[in-house]
Point group: C2
């Protein structure tokens, strides 16, 4: 008899189930030839005794080995290691020597898209005042793990694990519908909602379905550069209008319409990105009337509606759009975690259908499992709870941050305490070079944006967003201390 | 004292943690006015006694209520319901009556993309011979739930929950690299791999980065209609070549090159989709030489490499491509579950970089959490285990299916037992109208494709794929019984 207990070792501290450990060790030893082909294995009782485990564990291990084809039973004779062990060696159809070097150069020409060729942000655990991101340390990861588990446990696996609707998991579309109707004064049906992978995909889908090459699109002179990349990649003509303390200059948009029709205005009215100013009610009304009259699309990106502090939030343009000219987008990436890529686009259903057709060829559909899990978290009230907690936390951080910033750097920074959102728009005195400051800060262990992503073409604003939401009060203090010492 | 235990009820069978149940019930009662603003709450000890729970549970509930702003502590006085309860009512900036009717019609013109306007497949629990999908009942959902949990528990949450690499989670790119090098004879580095959301997104990214409007792209006359949608949407010229028992006719491709350069050939050499034929070694070599000489891209879609039965699998074109002309794609959607949208594209790193730039504006990045979880499953051997089990299961199902199909319907169906994959390509005798049969079968509770998606423009093949992998042996018997009775 083979000394099974010496080469089938079990580690009870491992998280892998014991039956799998036994099966894996057995396979390993069959492969090495230690347990030869055709060997008769011990019966389950004897093997259980030999390895010191329950007989059911051995039965499970044998089932696993059988399913994988490593062992087979012969009626009334017992269990044997298969004669044909299931290691299939692929055959090469060509005896060329294979290249051993990974390739860096493609063997055919392809267009390099200079528009898109920009540095791409990655996560970093370094201290920093970021662009206005959430503190992922607050993310309800336990609840999310529970929700994943619960979705995967449920009986509707065929439904959840198979092809689904390109517009998103129905339960999450419903939850989003309810959440938006309740919190933003919208009056939408499920057919008006499509789940996307973050606001980014919502902008991409809107751009690809609504715009043609050469169409005229209005954005702020200071604006969202990632959004501009999507528009430029589509080959549209970008028209830039001014931003002042009331937001986007709508009078200038009206003037542009007189020249030639425009097709879309991209706007972040609640807190303009990056300057955080709120668009005035008068401007909103004017923009809406203009869009309805001229029949262009308002792409309303409400990226940080959920965070408002001193005053009550102002309802979005979408809430009073009677003519179907507003396409409204938002996401949970900025409210929970950038990695949880759940966003939405709200529009008349004919446009949502069209986006669904496009989605089919981009990535077929969203992640049913994640979307179902998020729907459960909405249902359980976990999302609202998280938002409320984050809102209070960020509110405090805003106050601490703005106070410290004013007292330590008020003489070289011009900023307004934002009434919402997750970042301050800080204009530096010309005596301080932001690119230079940013370099020096990095050496001291603090990341701040050097402002280049916010500069319109050919203009040096010497201004940046300083995010306060993702860091706690002592980190804020530490970071401002570093900046203070450098100025 | 308020009778807390009568309106703060606890359900120990609920999966929501008890402290959250207590917090939620408290909020509910504050909102209803049952616990008025300013009320002094019981101390934690007294409340614990009153509700019959541990004091730590009450402390956790109070923390939660504090964090959400429902209660506040006053030094040495105790805990009180907040005077300003955190219910923020948004203000409308406009007193227009809001539209109560969901919108179905957009208020501006947008192009309807007739190419994409096709029916979209959804999941169904009805019995059916499908296109060749996996049996999601075999999916390792417990292991996946464990992996999600483990990823969410780990210390590297900042990394996992934040913005990541647009090319995919590094650990999964590495695992995919190893898996492909090991199983398919590739010699690639991590820089040659990008994680995508299924093969669909791999085709989309390749199409958008490599092709320009008007480029010439070769596909099979009988081919993958979803892939063709992506090419057509890009505005390229599609050229169709014949398929015979050796796969794509490469001689015809060589002829097309003589006319005018071609830019891409889309091919499924391992088992041609939909006919399941394997491309011969001679054709493969010819195609590769042609691509290297003419500098066009071979887009090799190896959608079902993992499932091969009677013979050993043949290595992909990518394994002998020394010139960087093959872009190789595959996915786990067909091997585990269509809902787990993990695919990959393998190419020289300059092209992978370009796809990464494009990915940034489509949906920013993949799902870090899912990708990390899949990397764990690779590491634990769970993926290989699953593939091995599925392979054996599908092998048996293929044999049972082909035997039954031959004996019950051999007189009206012409088919070859496929040496791999998950479906049979069945050509029906002209005496049987497939569209009509499909309609009748549906009434009897069996879904089969009426063949329309496989027909080239203007040709009626009267043939369809009959998938055998997603159904067990008794379901196969039942389904074939239905067809037999209808013929």
């Amino acid at each position: 008899m083979l000394p099974y207990s010496t080469f089938i070792t079990i580690d009870k501290k491992e998280k892998m189930p014991i039956f799998l450990q036994i099966a894996n060790k057995t396979i390993e030893n069959i492969k090495k030839g230690i347990i030869p082909k055709g060997t008769k294995l011990l019966g389950s009782r004897a093997m259980a005794l030999s390895l010191g485990v329950h007989r059911k564990t051995i039965l499970a291990a044998y089932d696993e080995l059988m399913a994988q084809g490593w062992i087979e039973t012969q009626a009334s004779k017992g269990t044997f290691v298969s004669q044909n062990i299931p290691e299939i060696k692929p055959v090469s159809w060509h005896n060329n020597a294979l290249s051993e070097t990974p390739k860096t150069k493609t063997g055919f020409e392809f267009p390099k898209n200079a528009v898109l060729n920009k540095p791409i942000l990655r996560g970093s655990s370094m201290l920093g005042f970021d662009d206005g991101f959430p503190d992922v340390r607050l993310a309800p990861t336990d609840a999310l793990a529970r929700a994943y588990r619960s979705v995967l446990k449920k009986g509707y696996q065929k439904h959840t694990l198979f092809y689904g609707d390109t517009k998103g998991e129905f339960s999450l579309r419903e939850a989003t519908r309810d959440y938006l109707n309740e919190s933003r004064g919208l009056h939408i049906a499920t057919d008006n909602v499509m789940i996307t992978r973050g606001s980014m995909m919502a902008i991409y889908l809107a751009t690809q379905t609504i715009l043609n090459v050469g169409d005229r699109v209005v954005v702020g002179k200071i604006g969202y550069s990632s959004g501009n990349l999507v528009f430029k990649n589509r080959g549209v003509e970008l028209l830039y209008v001014d931003i002042d303390e009331n937001g986007l200059n709508v009078e200038q948009i009206a003037q542009l319409c007189l020249e030639k029709p425009i097709k879309m205005v991209y706007v972040t009215p609640h807190h303009h990105y990056p300057t955080t100013v709120t668009m005035s009610a008068e401007r909103r009304m004017h923009l809406l009337q203009l869009a309805q009259k001229q029949q262009f699309c308002i792409l309303e990106d409400d990226y940080d509606y959920d965070f408002h502090y001193s005053s009550s939030p102002i309802l979005p343009l979408a809430s009073v759009d009677t003519e179907g000219v507003v396409v409204y987008i938002g996401s949970l990436c900025k409210t929970i975690s950038p990695a949880i890529r759940i966003g939405y686009v709200v529009a008349p259903s004919d446009l949502i259908d069209e986006m669904g057709y496009l989605r089919r060829i981009i990535d077929r559909q969203g992640d049913n499992i994640l979307e179902s899990a998020m729907a459960e978290l909405f249902k359980e009230g976990e999302i609202k709870r998280h938002l409320k907690k984050s809102q209070r936390t960020y509110h405090k951080r805003r106050d601490v941050f703005c106070d410290m910033l004013q007292s330590a750097l008020g003489h070289v920074i011009d900023f307004k305490k934002p009434n919402g959102g997750m970042a301050v728009w800080a204009k530096f005195d010309p005596s301080v070079s932001l690119p230079f400051l940013s370099e020096k800060a990095l050496l001291k262990g603090l990341k701040i944006n050097n402002g280049s992503t916010y500069n319109p073409d050919g203009v040096l604003l010497n201004a940046t967003r300083l995010g306060f939401a993702s860091i706690n009060e002592s980190e804020i203090e530490q970071g401002i201390g570093i900046l203070k010492n450098l100025i």
